[in-house]
Symmetry: C2
Subunit: 256 residues, 2 copies
């Protein structure tokens, strides 16, 4: 395989993609790690513009790359673009997929996942990965939620980034809109009034709302809506991790 | 509340508990963070011998502590005992609960979770937390699995540490023994021969085996045993995170 030499300007640009404001400005993001890059290439849902490999890394042999320029970076240059403590030697520079419009998202049947202020990148990535496994039809990224194209989120999706339509949304107004067009909302919440997930019927047009890791879902969103809880014993442990709770609900609600 | 001053020897001892070999030698471990410490105290399944608070931290007011000596540490001393980058100001020094013997574990009805070479502390902690939520009756900690009393594991259990009987086990021989006494094993594995979790009957004496994050369950353990997979679309993403897969299986297998 033939490697290209990056220019200083290219290096500078890639490095900047570690920051949210530049990702937004450039409409690009970084996907790091063999498994993640491999899956993104195979899946073909995200356009990869460049592959960056660390000099002497053997990881490149494991990838089947066609028509994508591959740049070789020295160790310190590679580390300056990497977001991890122990880089695996491969990074893909990708075009950010466009957001879905509301109309498209709401016309479909399916299962939508709405994130309300999810702050931990690893948690969000895992939830996108699991949503993808269960073929969710859309993601609503509510305010206060970490950027879904943050390098750690992307890494935690294990290649599922871009597999599902998404939009950044004001959940307060957009959930109302979706309800008006016939979608049914289940808020994952452990409170007393919540019904058990096992008795929560699915309708084919369902929205699961998952809230902040520490504080749960914003009480405003809960008003007059169905709260659903995962049955379990809260004497031993107060609650489930947000990604775990969502996954169990996805399993229950998915058509599989 | 009255605070004690720690001696240098005490500080040295607590610091050493960050290392596995000293945890084993002293039969003690550290639990860090308000939520985790609070839950461990309330739960009363683990004996807390000392509480350490950072000077001027207000966190102590949120805890109801009786009959446990509370030591106040200056910032740098506290940080030297802490395992986190941004300490929350409270650590509990706890006695490690004794391992269950095989006889006790295998006599019970219930749901046992066996960990085969789980390496990520956060993953193991989340799995113990979830196992506790679903009232698993026992945990088998297979070789190659991170120490369940590692500070990060303990933090990730969110206070569930000690809630479930456990033993460190050679899974190869102990699973055979359990089978002989009538337990039924389901190996979580995404391979083609696996049956869908939805069609996996529970028997009341079930063991779920979850394998290494990257490599899955050791093939030796799989031989002649039932493999179970979570139904889903592996085109979008190759697999589920180990903690997610186990949680969904626990939901399906638990009596709730």
């Amino acid at each position: 395989m033939e490697f290209k030499e990056p220019s200083n300007n290219q290096l500078k640009k890639w490095r900047k993609l570690l920051q949210g404001k530049y990702r937004k400005q450039e409409n690009q993001f970084l996907a790091e790690g063999l498994r993640c890059v491999d899956q993104i290439i195979q899946q073909k849902k995200v356009i990869v513009t460049e592959i960056l490999v660390e000099r002497n890394s053997e990881v490149i042999g494991a990838l089947s790359i066609k028509d994508i320029p591959v740049y070789e970076l020295g160790q310190s240059d590679f580390e300056s673009v990497s977001d991890t403590e122990t880089p695996q030697g491969v990074i893909a520079v990708c075009n950010t997929p466009a957001e879905s419009d509301m109309e498209k998202l709401s016309k479909k049947e399916g299962l939508i996942v709405a994130f309300d202020a999810i702050q931990d990148p690893g948690n969000l990535g895992t939830m996108i990965r699991t949503s993808s496994w269960f073929e969710a039809s859309g993601l609503l990224i509510g305010h206060g939620t970490v950027d879904p194209f943050h390098p750690k989120v992307v890494r935690s999706t294990a290649g599922a980034t871009g597999a599902i339509s998404y939009r950044k949304a004001d959940l307060h107004s957009e959930l109302l809109q979706l309800e008006e067009s016939g979608w049914n909302i289940s808020i994952l919440d452990g409170s007393e009034n919540a019904i058990s997930l096992k008795s929560a019927d699915k309708t084919g047009r369902d929205i699961l709302v998952i809230g902040n890791e520490g504080n749960g879902v914003n009480p405003k969103l809960l008003q007059n809506r169905r709260a659903v809880k995962i049955p379990g014993n809260s004497n031993n442990v107060e609650s489930l991790n947000a990604a775990i709770a969502l996954s169990i609900a996805l399993y229950q609600f998915s058509g599989k």
